[in-house]
Amino acid sequence: MRRALTIIAALIVLSGGAAVAEPAAAPDQPLADAGQETRAQALFEGIRCVVCQHEAIADSPAGVAADMRRLVREEIAAGRSDTQIRAGLVERYGDYVLFKPPVRIGTWLLWFGPFLLVTAAGLVLLLRGRKGAPAEAAPLSADEERRLAQRLADDDAAS
């Protein structure tokens, strides 16, 4: 009996009855124009689902993500450009909604930090390298020559 109930419960959940937690999202309707749909897909990759942890609306199964996808498709169909659509989303949800952070004073360090680091380190290396070019090694002393020969002979015996 308990088993039968479990199976029934499972069937209800699997058939979409799990709508208790969140209303089931309407199925995605791809745009009729293939070029426009490609644009939509590309946009989805860079837009964050605002209720999810760290997922793009392209990947998220959440209802909100589906709503956002529909919104983006509607805007594309209405003839808006990608830039306009992104700006609209930022106005509505804040910078948080884009996976590509804006470039402004507050994010200069984020955007240019890595390259500054490499450039600065490269400069330091260059300056140092110029100062300390290696001198030719001093010739070995007689004793060192003897020890080297001994060591080489050891190695030959070892291999």
């Binding site: 979409g16 860079g46 990947d59 948080y96 996976f99 507050g106 984020l110 001198a135």
Partner: protein
Amino acid sequence: MIVETGAYLLALALALSLAQAALSAAGRARLSPVLAGAGQGASIGSAVAVFVSFLTLVWAFAASDFSVANVAANSHTDKPMLYKVAAAWGSHEGSLLLWCLVMTGFGAALARARGLPFRLKTSAVAVQGGLSALFLAFAVFTSNPFARLDQVPAQGASLNPLLQDPALALHPPMLYAGYVGFSVCFSLAVAALIEGRANAPFWPAWGRWVRPWALASWALLTVGIALGAFWAYYELGWGGWWFWDPVENASFMPWLAGAALLHSAVVTERRGALAGWTVFLALLAFTFSMLGAFLVRSGVLTSVHAFAVDPERGVMLLAILGLTAGLAFALFAWRSPQLKGGGLFAPVSREGALVLNNLFLTAAAATVLLGTLYPLILEAAAGATISVGPPYFAATFVPLMAAAFLILPAGPLLAWKRADALGAAQRLWVAAAAAVVAGLLAFALFEPKKALSAAGVGLGVWLIVGALVEVSERVRLFRAPVGESLRRAKGLPLAAWGMTLAHAGLGVFVLGAVVETGFKAEAARTIAVGESLSAGPYSARLDAVRIAEGPNYLAEQAILTVTTRDGRAARQVKAERRFFPAGGQTTTEVGLDFRGVDDVYLTLGERRGESARPAWAVRMYFNPWARLIFLGPMLMALGGLLSLLDRRLRLGAGARRRPV
């Protein structure tokens, strides 16, 4: 009773680790081999105690002893045995015990290592004991995995069904072995800062001592990360394998620092140079490991993989991180001015190439750190919320690594001290030609036309052929008789083969990552039985949907037939939506059809349409060359293990230089 033994042994291990730190420190201060030996004994005792304690926890899970809070919260009698056992490290408490197990285990290996000088080894064992004691105290006082419940529940609350997967059962042990293995490098670095002398023959020897630990940790971490990425790929059901998620980044930072450490240690070993830098990287790798543990468990960052989130314990972890890393880097700042010296070298030399490698890898690690922490810092400082995701890393991390990959094949061809750049370039012309041809072919053949992706293909081929050129140079392939080449190949040290394999593996990974990212195709449709959808060169037809019963779940199982678009090469694939009654969760089980190096990836979504004519939302991905993404890291890890087997790297090998 068995469980109480486990709790007792964990407390005993804490006492033994404290004794290890105290005895070793005293042994070092008084130069007493007896005290130092006692410290080493305590280290081994601590490892044994944690190991048995860990076994009792595994036993409690295997026997479904729900009187233990941890078991009741994370297991269930219906679970298959493998996942009952794996659940032992599936929670915060259990995984912390695993962390301690690896830490004391590596500590015991350090205590038993031969060939290290007395002072350095005793100091390192003392530091390792201190680290172990900190983490064991954290486990004993805040995260006791053996706590009992007053009211014993009849059934457990189960583990997240997403985690019920063989790759994920193995992922934490591998990942932790890597993360925590770096603790030995950390201890050796601190010990070297205490004991090291400038311009002494000390540093080349130290480079050789630290390298095997770095190699082992890095190789294990590589496998751990690859398993995690593979799990995310086929279990989360969104067709991706890496999303620059904060938790993914947390595991990637120690990996990058570890990779830099491996290369830097070579210079220190061979030429006595870059000692300060190698020490810094050894400290950095484990610091990143601890930072990762903090980020993942504290909940300060939002992530799809956030795990065992508990802000209070997060603060404790931050305190441990601040204390250990703070002390270590303060010591570094104080002592590092004395670490100058070692062999001089010209900019164009093996050393010079390895310095560039270090520069790029460290900058890449800094980029990942910046991208991971920046949203947090900006929100705290300016109240502004931003998201840092794949587009940021594509614009910063990827060009840095691409620059590093461009110079990589030249590195091994350059001589130490002063090298002939022109000569290296001449020897690499085959690789350069192959790379250009591959890039042009990719541009001509792959749709849609993407210049950057095609260039990426060229870069992957450059790495692979470059690695092969290097090894064929060494064996004088085609320039000497075949027998001579074979003899030379046999004589090559394992470390050389390891390097070639790891560099070629990196190229294989680059090929996979570039092609998968640039040319994947996706389709999503709601289809009824008999209908089909297409992505890339393949089509999938829905043949049937039935209810299947698993050990602790019920599934709606779709049977699909995957064919090429013109209907050939049919193969059957099953994709499932599983319902776990115990926890009430639903998961997707991806249907994967391996087509050579390509994947056809199918997920079954919700049932739609009227009951008379049901239809299902099916998603299909065509992921070209996806197999290489996981093959590459495996080759890299294998390369690391091969190097580890090289007799020159075995501890104590340097001390016994007599003919064998």
